[in-house]
């Protein structure tokens, strides 16, 4: 059974496993693999299961049940939550709903330079910065750690995710504002 293999691989791995890696090692078609992953999620992501599955940026991982956060944190002696300033929170929200997103695009939405906040969020492990080859500039997404911290199984589980993520008006506005303003370009040249 392919689902059995997936569960075993996820259990054995300490890191999130890329779906492309699963595909290669299990030699399965996309269709079969995605269906199997959906099946694993459906069985594990229930209230009675101690282990849950999180998917983020094309990688899947076994994690603990969000309702058991307190007991596990006590055992691991982890500090669960830090403070978030309002600018950080806003920026994080924009990245969560609109990621992968470039710095100029974030700045169009917030109307203010975000360089320091992005560096800060990145240092705290809340966001990831990756290169977008097409756009020739880095794009930001929230980190897998952040998704796990919120206790959601995927970023798409955020409230009203599709409303904000796919909103055409926001896309148009961000594009048109980027065209009309060159400040971000000057900024990156400094």
């Amino acid at each position: 059974m392919i689902t059995t293999s997936i569960e075993s691989i996820l259990f054995a791995s300490a890191k999130p496993v890329a779906i492309s890696v699963l595909k290669k090692s299990l030699n399965a078609s996309d269709e079969v693999l995605l269906e199997a992953i959906a099946d694993v999620k459906a069985r594990f992501n229930v209230e009675t299961s101690g282990i849950h599955v999180v998917e983020h940026e094309g990688k899947v991982q076994f994690v603990t049940n969000p309702s058991e956060s307190a007991v596990v944190a006590a055992l691991l002696k982890e500090e669960v939550s830090g403070e978030l300033s309002r600018p950080s929170l806003e920026t994080l929200t924009i990245i969560a709903y609109r990621g992968p997103i470039t710095k100029p695009e974030i700045e169009q939405i917030r109307g203010v330079n975000c360089t320091l906040i992005l560096r800060n969020l990145s240092m705290r492990g809340l966001v990831d910065e990756t290169d977008d080859i097409e756009r020739l500039q880095p794009v930001f997404t929230v980190s897998a750690d952040f998704v796990r911290h919120l206790g959601i199984h995927s970023i798409a589980d955020l409230p009203d995710y599709l409303d904000l993520h796919e909103d055409k008006k926001i896309t148009e506005l961000v594009d048109s504002l980027s065209d009309s303003m060159t400040s971000s370009l000057n900024d990156s040249a400094l």
Partner: protein, 232 residues
Amino acid sequence: MSFEVTLDQYSGPLQLLLDLIEQEKLPITEVSLARVTEDYLKHVNEHDVPAEELADFLVVATKLLLIKSHAILPQLNLDAEEDGAKLADQLRMYKRFVDASAMIEEMFGAGKDMFAREKTSVAKVRQFLPPKNVTPTILRELFQAVQKRLEPFFALRQSSIERVVSIQERMKQLQAAMVDRSKVLFHEMVATGASKVEVVVSFLALLELMKQRVVKAVQGGSFHDILITRSD
């Protein structure tokens, strides 16, 4: 009604604008933007805006003034209508994310962490593990990709260096001319048939020399020629 919040607590110009509008219980429209323009300017004036954010606050201030002037003088057909609509749209979009951030904040503090397996702490022993598919060709290709990414940056820098160099040249030319003569007219300084860029560069050179108090400049009126004299 005064607003007892200092600007330091603002996360940006849009937040200040949103708070001003919400405090007046107004919907986000061009009309409301025109109404809070003065409050906005007052706040930017009275509080210390961090220097790195000042430009962003001023960009919004300019847009507001344009909207306001359009509200007062509707016959004035600037592009204010479009800009006003854009600022209102931008603010509405910003508000949607501010609203969403409240939900994120709640979830962030809810203590619902899902813990992942910790990495086992195995002591790393130095070992030669050559990557399989790294060839000189691949290394070269990767480095070329890096170079390509840097191109826009260097292109920008190059053009600004060129500009700076030509301003300095023009300053030297002007100073040399001033050694022989006590007065020079601006149009003499700019060669006949000069391009727009050359005129701008000459003008910047003049401004720089004025700043350094090397020359003085007098202009009789708008669009008149500028008379340049030595300061000593």
